[in-house]
């Protein structure tokens, strides 16, 4: 039996010895997950320092193609996996969300490095988003600043394990009804998440009221927060 057959075959169902080399009995989930995880095409999409380590992972020494992932697709339409490799800035996040919406399902997102996971060292900055998971559903987080190529590979293997545990019946993209695209953030006075529009309007009204109050009684400092 080849190694692939061993990986896929259901050990509970006995196959007669004479056709053992020709027949595998397996479940749809298993074969579906197996084929999906072994040909994940990442999007050719680098943001910052982590992208350099991602390129190094794809290069000679660490060789991403051993995992069937060497086909980096520059177009979101052909990609399965988005590796968010680097600092997500407020100016860039509308584009990232748009790219994610363009990816066909099933799609996975990996937050590579501290910045993409939670803002990283630049979290203090006025133009930095504290983690891509504020906008996209992230499947795997890879810590490190930057993660070494081996750490990234470990992250990819972790993602493969996650895929192995999925079932066609429960994954969100095969549920009835079309999935809503994620609303694209707006570049306003600050970054605006359309999902928070009501809250923001409230906030704007509050600010206006406070400003009015301050005009009447300048002594009181506005309580923000």
């Amino acid at each position: 039996m080849s190694s692939i057959a061993k990986e896929l075959a259901n050990p509970d169902i006995k196959v007669p010895a004479e056709i053992e080399n020709n027949l595998i009995v397996t479940s749809i989930d298993k074969i579906y997950n197996w084929s999906r995880r072994n040909s994940m095409w990442p999007m050719l999409f680098g943001l910052a320092c982590c992208a350099i380590e991602m390129i190094c992972t794809a290069a000679a020494r660490y060789d991403l193609s051993r995992f069937g992932m060497e086909v980096m697709r520059p177009s979101a339409r052909q990609a399965d996996l988005m590796i968010v490799s680097g600092t997500v800035t407020k100016k860039m996040v509308p584009q990232i969300v748009r790219l994610y919406n363009q990816m066909p399902e099933p799609k996975y997102v990996m937050a590579m490095g501290a910045c993409a996971s939670g803002g990283g060292p630049f979290k203090d900055g006025y133009n930095v988003v504290s983690g891509i998971d504020k906008f996209l559903p992230v499947d795997v987080y890879v810590p490190g600043c930057p993660p070494t190529p081996q750490a990234l590979l470990h992250g990819l293997i972790t993602l493969q394990k996650k895929i192995d545990g999925q079932s066609i019946r429960t994954v969100r993209w095969y549920q009835p009804g079309a999935e809503e695209p994620i609303p694209v953030p707006i570049l306003g006075p600050d970054l605006i998440d359309p999902r928070q529009a009501t809250l923001l309007r409230q906030r704007a009204a509050e600010q206006a009221a406070l400003a009015e109050q301050a005009a009447l009684s300048p002594a009181e400092p506005p309580a923000a927060g």
């Binding site: 000679a60 501290a114 803002g119 987080y141 890879v142 070494t148 081996q150 470990h154």
Partner: protein
């Protein structure tokens, strides 16, 4: 022209291809899945000629000693108890460039003085930039940079803010990943200890000799006493220090090497007299803790 440049270029590629086979012959039988990292490194190093792929999950590129990933807290094992070296002095939190360290210090309820152990210690590894300043500037060798890079997870909200428990790793682990640094630091610590012991011995030469008689009970009792009252006068601690060697009936100078050996449980072979060494260690510890608080 006429394509000669392209042909010449193809020659380079061909040579590289053949180089891979030359390497295979040179490192015969060790092409992939080499169990010995040194052989892997030889092929990966500047002498390698051809393909150099590391078959990652099956064979791993060994990381050098100085390699740093996320920080961890060093603790010394005292049976089941973990004795963190951290004194919550806060230097790492102050020097941390992205400010990813949060330390909660506590005061002793009785004396109101700060306790030299952090109540809680948090590092947000989603902010950490792996720069290693915390380890570099820690005066107590209490926080060090880890070698473990395989930390990918599915959920950051729970795993990525690491608390004292998650950050703690035993001293023996530190000794195993950074043997050279460990030895250098331990030697420096032992020297410091010896200096302090000599000073204390000189200061309390006479009363110590008399108090040495009930030494057997003094050592553990003093440990408990010395911890809350950090700023206690050095005189009190001095007898405790002397106690251990006194019981062994050995000269005070010998204590230093014994302590040094005790501090390296993993790397070095067991010290000549383990019983003595073990007793020396608890006596040493409160004294070591006191040094920062005094400053």
């Amino acid at each position: 022209m006429f394509g000669t440049g392209i042909l010449k270029g193809m020659g380079v590629v061909l040579r590289h291809l053949l180089g891979s086979y030359a390497d295979d012959i040179r490192y015969l039988g060790r092409k992939y899945y080499s169990p010995d990292p040194k052989q892997l490194l030889a092929r990966q190093g500047p002498k390698g000629k051809g393909a150099m792929t590391v078959m990652y999950p099956d064979e791993k590129m060994p990381v050098p000693e100085e390699f740093r990933f996320t920080p961890f807290l060093v603790y010394e094992e005292k049976g089941a108890e973990k004795d963190y070296r951290c004194t919550s002095c806060g230097i790492c939190a102050k020097v941390c460039p992205p400010q990813c360290i949060w330390i909660e210090r506590t005061n002793d309820p009785k004396t109101g003085r700060p306790v030299p152990q952090p109540r809680e210690f948090h590092i947000d590894i989603d902010i950490c930039m792996n720069c290693g300043f915390c380890a570099e500037f820690c005066p107590f060798d209490a926080i060090k940079m880890d070698h473990n890079y395989e930390m990918a997870s599915y959920d950051r909200t729970v795993k990525h803010i690491m608390n004292k428990e998650a950050l703690g790793k035993p001293l023996s682990y530190y000794a195993s990943i950074r043997p050279r640094n460990f030895q250098r630091e331990e030697a420096a610590r032992a020297e410091e200890e010896a200096k302090k012991a000599a000073k204390a011995a000189a200061a309390a030469a006479k009363p110590a000799a008399k108090k040495a008689a009930p030494a057997k009970k003094a050592a553990p009792a003093k440990k408990a006493a010395a911890k809350p009252a950090v700023k206690a006068a050095p005189k009190k601690a001095a007898p405790a220090k002397k106690a251990a060697p006194a019981k062994k009936a050995a000269p005070a100078k010998k204590a230093a090497p014994a302590k040094k050996a005790a501090a390296k449980p993993a790397v070095k072979k067991a010290p000549a007299k383990p019983a003595v060494a073990k007793k020396a260690a608890p006596a040493k510890k409160p004294a070591a803790k006191k040094a920062p608080a005094k400053k």
